[in-house]
Amino acid sequence: MDKKILIIEDDPIASRLVDYSLRREGYQVITASNGVTGMRRVTEEKPDLIILDVMLPGMDGFEICHRLRSNPSTTVLPILMCSAKAHEIDRNTGVKVGADDYLAKPADPSEILSRVARLLARKGLATLA
């Protein structure tokens, strides 16, 4: 299992924790600390899933998500959106811009792992069908 996961998160410590937890599960992990780098990594690395923070300097998570969904090559790329603003409005916006799942921050690594596994499995099914 060497699925590639991109973490777009500006807090290096939060990013490190998720990064380590995912690697332990055998995922390949790449990180980006802002939207511009994140978008570039998507093109270069073609990840299987993105863990996307909402609050980012410059381009925020909603915009990144919207852009990815507007691009034919990333329309179905699984996106797990995370935000410290655990408000319903953020969840709704997240869903509206096309995120597959939404998680309130700070989230437990175990929770992130299970969501990631579920999203990847769903994608697998979709590809089969």
Binding site: D10, D11, I13, A14, R16, L17, Y20, S21, R24, M55, L56, P57, D60, A84, K105, P106, D108, P109
Partner: protein, 506 residues
């Protein structure tokens, strides 16, 4: 019939003797019970006197009839001054005189009266006397005065009312404007009266209206309209209560409330994030999920760093709570500033290495000692250097420099080559809860610079910021060399117990 009293019988008898028209007189006497009716001959000698007259004047008929002239019912000056004579003269010429005069009761008291004099004639048609019918106006005058007083009281109340009062007729035309309404509209009554009232008229409802006196000069008023009668016609009575100030205060309170809510939300986020990281890494370590020794070391360092970060936020909150309650104090001792700066800067050694930032110190060897609270000073420097590092990109440079200026003060500056601060943010930097980059991770609680400012000012110094977009920022502060100004050694000097300026004006 009650009127049939002895005086009347006496009157009838006498009238009969005089050969007068008894029917007419009896009718007069019976129907004018509330009036004093007196019949007299042409010289004014009284020949008849009714019950009403007894009540009004206080004399019994026996005391009067055939014994007195009508002069007895008039005040002295009316008689001596010839007023009464003139009235009788007039009466004989015209046959009828009506007037208002003061009259006199038996007890000597005067009273206002309406009088009607009518000439009487005998059967041959010859003038033989007159009848005087008197209405006592005392009660009416009293009521009129009371009415007048209450009217003028009413006018006074309306004139002095702090609320604007406007009367509008059915057609929506302004009929009356009180002085308070003139003030509200910024126009004289004459400029409003007769004009259409500009606001929708809804009886019974309280509405909020904005009165634009002139562009930019807007008064907010609470308007209440009730139905009334004005000059016998249906009208609307509008009262306008100026709530401009209340609105402004409400807005201010709303702002403060919003700031506090945002602050709480920021702070809880700022506390939760590091706490969560600490928990996450500790769990990995506890479950022996980090076999690599170097990674274990890395995680322990992260935990250490995060708990320090948490500690800093909590210390800021404690400082804040002291500032808010006016218990924030500094205690000054001779302080080698050079050492304090070096000590503060040293804690960033590993962080700058990690972020690949160069941290420079330009502190003269001979920097003098000053009276200061070294712990608080250290706190300010840590805050400024920490910010400079936070806003610097890898490869950046942060410099701490100090100099003695004009033998009067120390100038300490922390500069970076980071992204700089937008010009519009600079005036707000030292305010409570202000965060220039709200979206930034680890934005802090927005207290650091505010607390730094309080500390520096408590030392009698100043703190300020300069920045150029793309070039970086310089944060500077001064400390007086003589240690004067600001707080002295923990003394209870109320001048230096700092209260946040926000309590005065937010």
């Amino acid at each position: 019939m009650v009127v049939k009293i002895c005086s009347e019988q006496l009157l009838r008898k006498q009238i009969k003797e005089l050969g007068k028209d008894t029917d007419f007189l009896s009718t007069l006497l019976e129907n004018l019970m509330g009036h004093a009716v007196v019949a007299a001959d042409l010289d004014g000698n009284i020949i008849a006197y009714n019950e009403g007259a007894r009540k009004i004047y206080g004399y019994t008929p026996e005391e009067i009839i055939g014994k007195h002239n009508i002069e007895i019912f008039f005040p002295g000056e009316s008689v001596t001054g010839g007023k009464l004579r003139r009235i009788i003269h007039n009466l004989r010429k015209t046959g009828k005189v009506s007037c208002e005069e003061d009259k006199l009761r038996k007890n000597g008291k005067r009273f206002p009266a309406r009088i009607l004099f009518v000439l009487t004639r005998d059967k041959t048609g010859k003038t033989d006397g007159f009848i005087e019918i008197v209405e006592d106006l005392t009660e009416r005058k009293r009521i009129e005065k009371r009415l007048w007083d209450s009217m003028s009281n009413f006018h006074k109340v309306v004139d002095d009312a702090s609320d604007g009062i406007i009367v509008i007729n059915r057609q929506g035309i302004v009929q009356y404007v009180n002085p308070a309404a003139e003030l509200l509209f910024g126009r004289k009554s004459d400029a409003i009266k007769g004009k259409q009232f500009g606001f929708p008229i809804t009886s019974g409802a309280t509405t909020e209206v904005e009165i634009i006196r002139k562009p930019g000069d807007i008064v907010v008023a609470e308007m209440r309209i009730v139905e009334t009668v004005w000059n016998d016609e249906f009208a609307h009575l509008t009262s306008l209560h100026d709530i401009t100030e209340r609105k402004a205060v409400e807005e201010k309170i709303r702002q403060i409330d919003k700031t506090k809510t945002e602050f709480l939300s920021n702070v809880s986020h700022e506390l939760r994030t590091p706490l969560h990281s600490i928990g996450g890494f500790i769990k990995l370590l506890l479950r022996s999920q980090v076999p690599d020794k170097e990674t274990r070391q890395e995680f322990l360092e992260i935990i250490d760093q995060e708990s320090q970060y948490l500690g800093n936020i909590i210390n800021s909150l404690l400082d804040m709570s002291q500032l808010e309650s006016g218990r924030f104090e500094i205690s000054k001792r001779p302080t080698p500033v050079r050492d304090t700066i070096a000590d503060a800067v040293s804690i960033f050694k590993s962080l700058v290495r990690h972020k690949e930032i160069t941290l420079k110190e330009e502190i003269p060897e001979d920097l003098p000692e000053i009276e200061a609270d070294s712990g608080r000073l250290r706190q300010v420097i840590i805050n400024l250097v920490g910010n400079a590092i936070k806003f610097s990109d890898p490869g950046g440079e942060v410099t701490v420099r100090a100099e003695e200026r004009r033998g009067q003060e120390l100038l300490i500056q922390v500069s970076d080559r980071g992204t700089g601060i937008p010009a519009e943010s600079i005036p707000h930097l030292f305010k409570r809860f202000y965060r220039a980059e709200a979206k930034m991770v680890r934005g802090g609680a927005g207290l650091g610079l505010y607390i730094s400012k309080q500390i520096i000012e408590a030392h009698g110094g100043h703190i300020w910021a300069e920045s150029r977009a793309g070039k970086g920022s310089i944060f500077s502060f001064t400390l007086p060399l003589d240690g004067k100004g600001g707080e002295t050694n923990g003394q209870e000097d109320s001048n230096y117990r700092r209260r946040p300026d926000s309590l005065k004006a937010c």
